[in-house]
Amino acid sequence: MGKFDNHGLKAISPLGGHEPRVDAFTGLLIREVTDRALASLAARQGQEEAVNSAAAAYLGGALPGPAGWTETGAFATWWMGPDLWMVSAPHDSHELLAGELKQAVGEAGSVVEQTDGWCRFDMEGARCSDVLERLCNADVRGGKAGSAVRTSMEHLGVFLLCHAPGQQYSIIGPRSSAGSLHHALMAAAKSVI
């Protein structure tokens, strides 16, 4: 639990557990990820360059372009739309990520806490492509490390981040539908493996 988590409230995961869920198949691991804080960053009008440079200084690297994501130290950032990004950092050390990021970009950007708006499932293993092609229309086999695709799974809008082509991905979807998304991932995995 994080440093701000020493209050009386115990967190539950999007799937409703106190520990993140892990499901293992031959050649595939599906892991619920709950240890990342999220904040959206939007450039204010006419402040695109300012927000880019302020964010780069804070994150330690440039903001990614369309359909891309980058990892800089503890941070991971993906492109969500024109002049709009999602920044992620370890929850333990950055539970107040939105506030920190806002301080970094100041008036140049609008920052919104998004940590609990989303659920995240990481998929690892040699069967990733076989399973993902039953779930979404993203060109998984043609994808590259660093691609961040907005696609849909189980009728839900999700982001699909590629860490290692064919081997490792993150699926980030709406938190309230974590159960349905997880069900779809499991059904696809059982269907394929």
């Binding site: 701000f4 092609e133 998304l181 059904a187």
Partner: protein, 1008 residues
């Protein structure tokens, strides 16, 4: 070789069939073929057990067992057998499997045989051999095209309720079990540089060429064997048999990681931008899919280029009684003999207008089947070895009750001759399979030299065509076209490919003399066997002026149903052309549309069935509510607690009344996370909200919340909610649960398109915060136990409509809003969603001393009706701010969406509907929601309608039913007694018009 023991161990034979012992088991089984003789499979047809082999289709196995009669026709219930050996089959439709897996109208020619396969004939009663409905055939003179339309005209009202159901019951084809399909179906998505559709010689050469060049290739074929006609013919490629060459190519393709080979996969449609639909039959060839595995997969294939190599379909020649079981296409007879080692009968005749028919004769003779005659319409027909040739002759009739026994010929010299045969192999030439080229409205063109339509005009984007599908009928031409097609397609993509070396193959020219139907004879010559359409029906359509091909199709049903006229369209067009005195290309073809072959509903639905029909959304308190035994209700995709039953409560009203009373008397807690939350930031955030809301927001102080009403462009109110100002440039807007997405979308549209110069950023935070309403006189006391002490939430420190960022439970960041939907002293408190469950547990624990209750959506609804607050029933798409009693909220000091059109005269009538409340005059009466309002006296009619009741509930506070709704000039009619009527059910209740604010009209409680 392994010996297999069949038929209770009485007959043993060599697995490769070389001894000819197969015949002892299956009367029409030949030697050779591509079936795997090592494994005998048992199947049933109409309850009778038969044996077949791996590699058989149901059709080939039935023919091997001497079963020619496989079905009854649609309209006349004529006995029918198999016509083809592929997906174009019109006749041999069966019901496969039983129970939830029962599948009607399946073509026996595409059903792959497996051990335990269960098939039944359909559209017959009581049995296939004795079908009482065959009486229809006796009345065929009456049942011609257009019969129904002409006969069942009067009285018009009878059509839908009486005539149509009876006709449908009598006609129909297969039946369904009405049980749930127990199997799963998947959907999936594939991407490729080159999609090769069909795996005959051209398809394989294309895949080989592209695969070797390193392109991402998908090659799909509806058959379970790759190879197309190469498996059905005897001529070889290089020094290999056709099938051996296929195996060699397949092995190379399998070793290429960039090539995906997809047998049992039908490309069903060519859609926009190079997207193709495909159905892969993953487990139709086994008894049942493995648990969790799909029966079929519907693939969406994104291709950069596609090469159609779908081959060609043979066409029949129409003549009298050409539908008897045993009359088949010549290419199919040849395929059964060469691929499946089956002959439909031990004596076969051939009827052809082209050289291809002669191949059938030669192949059958080589297999030891007696060919009793080769009847060639061409006077200069080539010679035949081993069978009697009748050049310039025609088949004018056939005999045989449930199967063909003889054919009657009109010889070139005018004489007649009867030829005995159990099967007649008919070839009228071949039609390229142009269907997919037409899915984007491409129109094929006529090629005189092959007497067939070939792809032309605007093909689907980035599609090209090769091989027989393009009219290149020889094997050599198909191989070349496939290789060259792949090179050209890849060159477009900047991929250098070298055409695979062309192997040596037959290169026979097409020798065909068009011959569509035999004119002699007064009986019926069948064109479309699936729909029982005859040459006469086409003539009738012409006579009755249904001359356009599209009209012809709809008048006669030619070319409809599962086969979509793959074997019949051409004949119909040719006859129509002849009658109209036109050339065939002038008549044209009907439009081919997806799907190319029938697709099951199951695979269309995919995994979206039952409880997984659509995703659900769960609130942060879902787990806790489940523990309390809450009843849930679907609100959009959300599952919300409707009420929380307690021990001893036997009726939902008891639970709801208790929740309302306890909230009003002490304190209640409700999960309101589902309300939409939109974070609005930017220098122009306030100005932007001024545009979004009818009322003004620019001057809302930081730390305050304001109720707001949103209008559509046409001035109708469509959503209400609140906006809380956390900073000069930061608001959080809440919406109703139902309209969360709509409001967000509209705001995003406004930001991007209407007010692009404003500095505004939007993002949804609905799910990021778990939000609970804490309502009731003890709400503050309860919250003070949870909110960290440094935050003053007293009435002075945190008055009505205040908002702020606070911490709870010793440091957990939270947001607090002093707003009330219930009309009580109330707050909404939000924490990051992960802590929502814990916060609720803490609130319930802290509330124990006050008897705090959780309340669900029902109690929420009762309290808002008691308070006269509008919700979805009132914001129903027809009501304005004026109707809602909020006319003055539409600020005229500023512009907003909907402002101008809300000023329309019709929306500001003097007798406009106004939101008011209703109480029954007799306290025991209900106030039925949906009732229309009528004056105390006078007639009940639409003309005298005074309004309607939108929401109603039993108020435990008032002890009677109450309602709110819209009444003409309602605000001026308080105290009047009127009638709430339901003329449909003959019900009427006297109600008194009252203020919609039943509870605490002055609003003292919520400010307290």
């Amino acid at each position: 070789m392994t010996d297999a023991i069949l038929n209770a161990g009485t007959v043993a034979f060599q697995a490769d069939g070389s001894t000819g012992a197969r015949k002892g088991v299956q009367v029409n089984r030949l030697d050779g073929g591509l079936i795997k003789g090592s494994k005998a499979l048992t199947f049933t047809f109409d309850g009778k057990r038969y044996k077949g082999f791996e590699g058989d289709t149901l059709a080939s196995a039935l023919l091997a067992n001497g079963v020619r009669l496989m079905g009854r026709s649609f309209k006349y219930h004529r006995p029918r057998g198999v016509l083809t050996s592929g997906s174009e089959e019109p006749n041999a439709l069966v019901e496969l499997r039983s129970g939830g897996r029962q599948e009607p109208n399946t073509r026996a020619t595409t059903a792959e045989l497996y051990d335990g396969l269960e098939a039944n004939s359909q559209n017959r009663w009581p049995s296939l051999k004795h079908d009482f409905m065959a009486v229809n055939d006796r009345f065929s003179n009456f049942l011609t095209a257009g019969f129904y339309y002409k006969t069942f005209m009067w009285p018009a009202a009878f059509w839908e309720k009486i005539y149509e159901p009876i006709i449908r019951k009598a006609a129909g084809l297969g039946s369904i079990s009405f049980e749930d399909d127990p199997d799963a179906y998947d959907k999936g998505f594939l991407h490729c540089d080159l999609l090769v559709i069909g795996s005959g010689p051209s398809g394989l050469m294309a895949a080989l060429t592209a695969g070797r060049a390193g392109a991402q290739v998908i090659i799909a074929d509806e058959d379970f064997l790759l190879g197309g006609r190469l498996n059905a013919e005897t001529f070889g490629i290089n020094d290999l048999t056709g099938s051996a060459w296929v195996e060699q190519v397949q092995a190379e393709l399998a070793a290429l990681p960039n090539v995906r080979v997809m047998p049992r996969t039908s490309i069903i449609g060519a859609f926009d931008h190079g997207i193709y639909g495909a159905v892969e039959r993953v487990a139709d060839h086994v008894l049942a899919p493995e648990a969790g595995k799909p029966r079929q997969i519907l693939w969406r294939i994104y291709s950069k280029r596609a090469l159609l190599a779908a081959g060609a379909t043979e066409r029949p020649i129409a003549f009298e009684n050409n539908d008897r079981p045993g009359v088949m296409l010549a290419g199919a007879v040849r395929a059964y003999a060469n691929r499946w080692a089956v002959t439909p009968d031990q004596s076969v005749a051939v009827f052809t207008n082209n050289d291809d028919g002669h191949r059938t004769a030669a192949d059958l003779i080589a297999k030891g089947v007696k060919v009793t005659a080769v009847i060639d319409t061409r006077p200069d027909a080539p010679k035949v070895d081993g069978a009697e040739l009748f050049a310039g002759a025609q088949v004018i009739d056939t005999q045989g009750r449930l199967g063909l026994e003889t054919v009657r010929l009109r010889l070139a010299n005018g004489a007649t001759r009867d030829v005995p045969c159990g099967a007649l192999a008919v070839s009228g030439g071949w039609n390229p399979n142009v269907h997919l080229t037409c899915h984007q409205r491409g129109r094929p063109a006529w090629r005189e030299d092959i007497a067939a339509f070939v792809p032309a005009g605007t093909l689907p984007q980035n599609m090209s065509v090769a091989g027989a599908a393009n009219g290149d009928f020889s094997t050599a031409a198909a191989l070349r076209a496939g290789a060259e097609g792949a090179v050209a397609a890849l060159s477009d993509l900047g991929i250098d490919a070298k055409a695979a070396d062309l192997p040596a193959a037959e290169d026979a020219p097409v020798n065909v003399t068009p011959f569509w139907y035999v004119k002699e004879g007064k009986g019926r010559a069948w064109l479309d066997q699936q729909n029982d359409v005859t040459v006469k029906d086409v003539k009738l359509a012409h006579q009755e002026n249904f001359r356009s091909v599209e009209h012809l199709k709809r008048y006669t049903t030619l070319g409809m149903a599962t086969d979509q006229g793959k074997t019949s369209n051409m004949g119909g067009l040719a006859i129509m052309a002849e009658l109209a005195g036109k050339q065939i290309p002038e008549v044209g073809t009907t439009m081919f549309r997806p799907p190319y072959t029938p697709v099951s509903f199951g695979v269309m639905a995919g995994r979206s069935v039952g409880e997984e029909f659509r995703p659900t959304r769960k609130t942060p308190s879902h787990k806790w509510a489940e523990e309390q035994g809450a009843e849930f209700v679907e609100v959009g995709q959300w599952l919300r607690a409707q009420w929380f039953p307690k021990a001893g409560e036997t009726h939902w009203r008891q639970s709801v009344d208790r929740e309302v009373l306890q909230t009003r008397n002490s304190v209640g807690i409700c999960d309101v996370t589902t309300l939409g939350k939109i974070d609005v930031q930017g220098k122009d955030a306030a100005a932007f909200l001024n545009k979004m809301y009818a009322n003004a927001f620019a001057k809302l102080p930081v730390g305050k919340v304001r109720y707001g009403l949103m209008l559509r462009e046409d001035g109708i109110a469509y959503d209400d909610g609140t906006a809380a100002r956390f900073a000069e440039d930061h608001f959080v807007v809440t919406t109703t649960t139902a309209n969360a997405v709509l409001v967000y979308r509209n705001m995003e549209f406004a930001r991007q398109c209407l007010f692009p110069d404003m500095d505004v950023q939007l993002i949804s935070t609905t799910e990021a915060w778990a939000q609970f309403a804490v309502a009731g006189p003890n709400a503050r006391k309860l919250l003070q136990k949870v909110v960290d002490p440094e935050f003053d939430i007293s009435n002075e420190g945190f008055p009505f409509m205040a908002c702020g960022e606070i911490t709870v439970a010793g440091g957990c960041r939270a947001r607090l809003f002093r707003i009330s939907f219930s009309g009580e002293l109330a707050y909404e408190i939000a924490v990051p969603t992960r802590y929502g469950d814990a916060l609720l547990r803490k609130l319930m624990e802290a509330g124990e001393e006050f008897g705090a209750v959780p309340y669900g959506t029902e109690a929420l609804g009762v309290m808002r009706i008691e308070k006269g607050h509008a919700a979805g029933n009132e914001l129903n798409g027809t009501t304005s701010a004026l109707n809602l009693g909020m006319g003055r909220m539409v600020s005229k000091k500023k512009d907003c969406i909907g402002n101008t059109l809300s000023e329309r005269e019709g929306m500001n009538r003097e007798d406009a509907l106004k939101l008011v409340g209703f109480k029954p005059v007799n306290a025991a009466d209900p106030v039925p929601a949906g009732s229309h309002l009528m004056n105390a006296d006078g007639e009940v009619s639409a003309a005298t309608d005074q309004g309607y009741i939108t929401s109603a509930a039993y108020s435990p506070v008032l002890g009677c039913a109450i309602g709110i709704g819209f009444l003409k000039r309602g605000d001026a009619r308080l105290g009047e007694v009127i009638r709430a009527v339901n003329p449909l059910e003959g019900k009427e209740v006297q109600v008194e018009v009252v203020s919609a604010h039943f509870v605490d009209p002055e609003g003292e409680r919520l400010r307290g």
